[in-house]
Symmetry: C2
Subunit: 272 residues, 2 copies
Amino acid sequence: MKNSYSIGEFSQVTGLSVKTLRFYHEKGILVPSSVDEATGYRFYDAGKIEKARVIMRLRQMEFAIEDIAAVLGECTDEADILHYLERQKNVLQQRIQEDRDIVRSLTEIIATEKTARQILEEGHYSVEEKTLEPMLVAGIRMKGKYSDCGRAFGQLGKTVGRYISGKALCLYYDGEYREDDANFEPCFPIRKEIAAEGVSVRTLPGGRCLTLIHRGAYDQLGRSYSKILRQADELKLKISLPTREVYVKGPGMIFKGNPKNYLTEIQLPIDG
Amino acid sequence: MKNSYSIGEFSQVTGLSVKTLRFYHEKGILVPSSVDEATGYRFYDAGKIEKARVIMRLRQMEFAIEDIAAVLGECTDEADILHYLERQKNVLQQRIQEDRDIVRSLTEIIATEKTARQILEEGHYSVEEKTLEPMLVAGIRMKGKYSDCGRAFGQLGKTVGRYISGKALCLYYDGEYREDDANFEPCFPIRKEIAAEGVSVRTLPGGRCLTLIHRGAYDQLGRSYSKILRQADELKLKISLPTREVYVKGPGMIFKGNPKNYLTEIQLPIDG
DNA sequence: ACTTGACTCTCCCGTTGCTGGAGGGTTTAG
DNA sequence: CTAAACCCTCCAGCAACGGGAGAGTCAAGT
């Protein structure tokens, strides 16, 4: 065991790069044991190796240099740095939470986009019967124009955004099309029961329904409605309210996209 | 709706700071609709608002400016950026994984330190009987000097470090103290069954045992051993091998600390 | 003693996504 | 006509280094 290491040797021993060692010297957290006055050469003794290890371990836990300086200044025992450790833990946990939220959004977008792509390719745009699962939703009941639903989705996104678990949908409580005084409720499926002002959270019942996927802009929805209603009539099915529209692919979370590729699933619950 | 916004107005509308808008201009991802040749004043039209929103959403998902530039260059629909979305998701998931590992380490250190502190304060250093739970451990069986166990712990830390779930311990297979040819096994409790070369992973049995917490440096352990063995003798208990030492508080993950405060729990399994 | 090659020094720039400020020109309201 | 509000460009700085230039230093071989 030597007891005086040049910076290069010390770098070998500790695994810290020469640049990093100089940087730590400048920051004052790992000062060489001696510095040659004439040449400026740094020399480290064996005692510094342990200190270097301490710094590395703290850095591995993403401690900031500034915090490391504080820790090294105050503490010689882990008991002394409990406060710092807990703070660091909180910082990291918060970042994990944020990252997880983003990942969930991304997963959602990706999944939506993939199913949309599949439907576009397979292209079965015919009236079918389906059984829906019950699902937890958060909705805002509205009366007025359909065009106001954009704002409602915006508000929902802000209040329950973190808990969205599926595609946006809208419930229609009128049995017919209404221009100015429609009765409807934009909703998001959510994965957690939460309370928010002005937002109704509850479980939508499942059950049989008639569905049709509409491809194209929303102002063309009428055609798909008449198609599915005709079919319901032919099958002598009684439709119960509210009916639903599921926005399989619409103006996305990032881009508006091309309305010609919008996909909207019309769901008419079958009575009895 | 105006259709020409000065940078300040556009900042109000979009929520992006003036500085940020200039920066985005420089980076080419959000270029003003027109720039006054004489004065250099930037002007944005309404169409840029949507683009600004897109950029904001991507930034919220921690996309790099460079990636945003690529996305904006290539895509107008979310379907086009699936590749980028997935890449970003992977990046974030990896960061989450790393952060979680750190948080686990921190939690471990904090918990160890807190129990140690409690024991130091309460100070019950007497022989007691306890029932141990079975636990999953990873160990390295060794023959030789006790002092070599440090290296074994180092190796264990590297191979199973991510899965450590409790305090380091050591198993002793000799019924007596041996200088040079001791038979022992440094271990870490782990929370997941894993395979690693040279490492034995298995479940240690639980059961009754006699315990004594030793406070102080390791070279003083002999005194505590004689105390606990005397007690075992008096109670006419038969001890089975291997015996254990649990390093409640020793040279920490960060600092060596003061050996006077080291805490080591001696555990002697009771036969039958 | 001299050269060569490895080592070291300081200083500066670049990274990412901005924020803040200095120093100067422009516009608009009173 | 002036003051406030707005805009411009350029520079610095943040965190934790890495890369490289240009110059000095050290140890070994000749």
